[in-house]
């Protein structure tokens, strides 16, 4: 009796052991060593070609600074969750990439280190992107390149219909109506109920003088009326309310849309269809004379507060290196994005002529968080809610913004 029972209790104890051991197997903390020989990096370029193109830039900087890098890529939609997890377990990476509208929110938590601490030179960068990375007067990150939105058009279809690329809303509506034929729509855009839909709406709203601080103003609802007219007039599919920007690109490539609102990151995909002749222009304005203002997209490299001062200083050098002239041009050329140092624009366009209109658009582009900062996500939610209400016919554009603002 005695022995089996003891064995039994030992077995039960042994069963507990792994549970107990698992509790104390977290990695040891890094000390404040003077010599930094490695940096950990987290970003969301998890698909090729971007993944390897960014890797090349990171490798160049690693070689320059004489450090080895330990890079982790996560899917874009999981990045913030990942950052929050690692923040609570005190395992933030040394260098962290963030989508520019998220920088202020993360900076507000105290999780990022201001670049002025490390005397990083932030002059010469486009205002919009610096604004996105600035929280309470401090710059928290640098972006080597940025992107924006424009109108792509199918050259063959426009030529066949005798239509010029639109520069005003009236021209856009007329062109879209004329280009709509059979199962082909004149224009495609993304009005999806996510931040992507809000992002696509911004250039129309901003170019008309609308502002995210006053979403119930007529200047904002006029822009929504344009979208509503396109859908109810049959020039754009009613499905735009479910389309992501990738879906919009697929419609354009398949010849089911003659024009689309999209960004330069789609160029590699467009190039895969050699038969498709396309070009791009700036987002049209309501009346000739208005300035076309598009939103600024792109990722910012930051230095999280990890507690290891030596590594943070090295990480700041690394961030500066990613945004060096050489890396900006290399990344911009390879990824069809626009360099953030305004002085590089001329040389860039001469190297990549397809990017002319986007480069021009970036010069005046605005950041999403420039005015509202951390409060931007709420405004973005109101915008996409209003888009959905208006495009499904549940409310007029003006009422849509009133209803959506009410929560």
């Amino acid at each position: 009796m005695k022995t089996p029972r003891r064995i039994a209790s030992l077995t039960a104890l042994a069963a507990l052991a792994p549970l107990a051991l698992a509790g104390c197997s977290s990695g040891g903390g890094a000390g404040d060593g003077g010599d930094v020989d490695s940096l950990s990096i987290v970003d969301y370029y998890n698909n090729d070609p971007d993944k390897s193109l960014v890797q090349a830039a990171l490798d160049r900087c690693a070689a320059d600074l004489g450090v080895s890098i330990n890079r982790e890529t996560v899917p874009g939609k999981d990045l913030i969750q990942k950052v929050l997890q690692r923040a609570s377990s005190k395992t933030l990476p040394d260098v962290l990439m963030l989508d520019n509208p998220d920088v202020q929110e993360i900076a507000a938590t105290g999780g990022l280190s201001p670049l002025s601490t490390y005397n990083v030179d932030t002059s010469g960068f486009a205002d919009g992107i610096l604004e996105a990375a600035t929280y309470e007067g401090e710059v928290y990150g640098l972006a080597p390149t940025v992107n924006t939105l424009g109108i792509y058009y199918n050259k063959d279809l426009l030529q066949a219909a005798g239509v010029q690329p639109p520069t005003t809303w009236e021209e856009l509506k007329a062109a879209a109506a004329k280009l709509t034929e059979g199962d082909r729509y004149g224009v495609a855009f993304s009005g999806i109920a996510t931040y992507e839909g809000s992002w696509q709406f911004l250039p129309f709203m901003w170019s008309n003088g609308g502002d995210e601080t006053d979403l119930t103003s007529p200047k904002v609802s006029q822009a929504l009326s344009l979208w509503q007219d396109l859908v109810t007039g049959g020039s754009a599919s009613a499905s735009v309310i479910n389309w992501s920007q990738a879906d919009v690109k697929d419609q354009f490539v398949a010849g089911k849309a003659a024009m689309m609102v999209n960004g330069p990151w789609q160029i590699p995909a467009l190039r895969k269809s050699p038969d498709l002749a396309w070009d791009s222009v700036k987002i049209p304005v309501r009346e000739a004379g208005q300035e076309s203002v598009a939103p600024l997209g792109g990722e910012v490299w930051t230095v999280p507060e990890t507690g290891n001062k030596a590594k943070q200083a090295k990480a700041a050098e690394f961030v500066e290196c990613i945004s060096s002239d050489e890396n900006q041009l290399a990344l911009a050329e390879a990824r069809f994005t626009v360099p953030t140092r305004t002085a590089l624009a001329g040389e860039y366009v001469s190297r990549v002529p397809e990017m002319a209109s986007f480069t021009e658009q970036v010069a005046t582009a605005r950041s999403r968080t420039g005015k509202l900062g951390e409060a931007w996500p709420e405004a973005a939610t109101v915008i996409y809610d209003a888009i959905q209400l208006a495009l499904t016919g549940k409310a007029s554009p003006a009422d849509a913004f009133k209803q959506a603002s009410a929560g």
Binding site: M1, K2, R5, A8, S9, A12, L13, A15, L16, L19, I80, Q81, L84, Q85, A87, S88, E105, I106, A108, T109, G110, G111, D183, I192, A193, T194, S237, A238, S239, I241, N242, K256, P377, E378, T381, D385, Q388, L389, L391, T392, K394, A406, G407
Partner: protein
């Protein structure tokens, strides 16, 4: 009593020097005589050791429950009472706000529609899944060539990852180029393409349709198992009395299927009420919030708006509703066992 226990206890231990005829002495001697100490003390020790052994056997399961069920539930409840945002992850500070998150939830314009949609979605899905599942299960009761193969094929929706199914359905249901509209138009059933996922009035129906498709295998499998348990003799006897077809179903199949039916329905409700991925993949709660349910609200508050406190409040309401059905299930189950 005392004496027999003593004897049993010690013999079990191997009968070390005890005086069964003098229990009182044995206790009194405990302090002086080493032999007596052995005789009495092991009883106490043994009882505790037995208890410890039992405890150790229960401990892994208990620990598992506490770690993976207890902790999340408690954490979710405390989280719903806190202002828990992105800042919390960095600073560790989450101020208590009492029931403010619940007030936000109940007062939000989407709460009412989300409740109604959750109810419609659950009732619609369960009704469709159950009726079609029952019909298919009855159908497969007959043996015919390839019946086993076909029954296995029915499990297909179950085997596909839900994200894959919802992406596929999204293209099937596309208003302009989806094959469902093309098919219906070619048959002349509809003249205008149905705006499955783009009209706020139709979208919920479309989502329910897809969820019915996903849930049929579960219903068929369980109901088919229940049908197998009904003895053929009953049908033979009924057939002799002239009860076949519909009457056999009403008077034999249905009453004998009762316990299985209650299990299928209640489990179905608990599974369906929390469905997230299908809706997320098909409509993301849209168009114009027409397919918002409690689980979608909870997900979006937590992982889109990063208002973890409000998200937790939504999910606690959801858990509470599921709990009601879980209790109904447990009671129904117990009654079935008692019978």
């Amino acid at each position: 009593m005392n004496r027999t226990q003593d004897v049993q206890g010690t013999t079990a231990e191997g009968g070390v020097g005890v005086h069964p005829e003098r229990p009182g002495v044995a206790e009194g001697a405990a302090a002086r005589e080493p032999g007596a100490t052995n005789a009495v003390a092991p009883r106490g020790r043994k009882v505790t050791r037995e208890a410890v052994t039992r405890l150790l056997f229960v401990a892994p399961a208990g620990l598992f429950l506490v770690l993976f069920f207890g902790y999340p539930v408690v954490k979710n409840i405390t989280m719903s009472l806190q202002d828990y945002t992105t800042k919390t992850f960095f600073t560790g500070e989450a101020p208590w706000v009492g029931l403010a998150n619940y007030a936000t939830v109940v007062n939000s314009n989407l709460f009412g529609p989300a409740m109604v949609n959750t109810a419609l979605f659950t009732i619609g899905s369960i009704a469709g899944q159950f009726v079609i599942g029952l019909a298919l299960a009855c159908f497969f009761r007959r043996r015919f060539p390839l019946s086993n193969f076909l029954r296995a094929m029915l499990l297909l929706p179950w085997l596909l990852p839900l994200i894959v199914s919802s992406a596929t359905w999204r293209s099937i249901l596309d208003q302009d180029s989806g094959i469902l509209n093309q098919f219906l138009t070619s048959l002349g059933i509809i003249s205008q393409p149905v705006p499955w996922l783009t009209s706020p009035t139709v979208a919920l129906i479309a989502v329910v349709m897809v969820n019915i498709w996903v849930g049929i295998p579960f219903n068929v499998t369980i109901i088919y198992g229940g049908l197998q348990d009904i003895p053929d003799e009953l049908y033979e006897a009924a057939a002799l009395d002239g009860a076949t077809g519909w009457r056999a179903f009403r008077h034999i199949t249905w009453p004998n299927l009762q316990p299985v039916v209650s299990v299928v329905l209640v489990l179905g409700v608990v599974y369906t009420i929390k469905v997230l991925d299908i809706i997320l993949g098909l409509t993301n709660g849209g168009p114009a919030n027409a397919t918002q349910t409690l689980s979608i609200r909870s997900y979006q508050e937590s992982f889109t708006n990063f208002e973890f406190g409000v998200g937790a409040a939504f999910s606690n309401i959801l858990i509470l509703i599921s709990l009601v059905f879980a209790v109904i299930y447990l009671r129904a189950n117990r009654r079935a066992v008692d019978e």
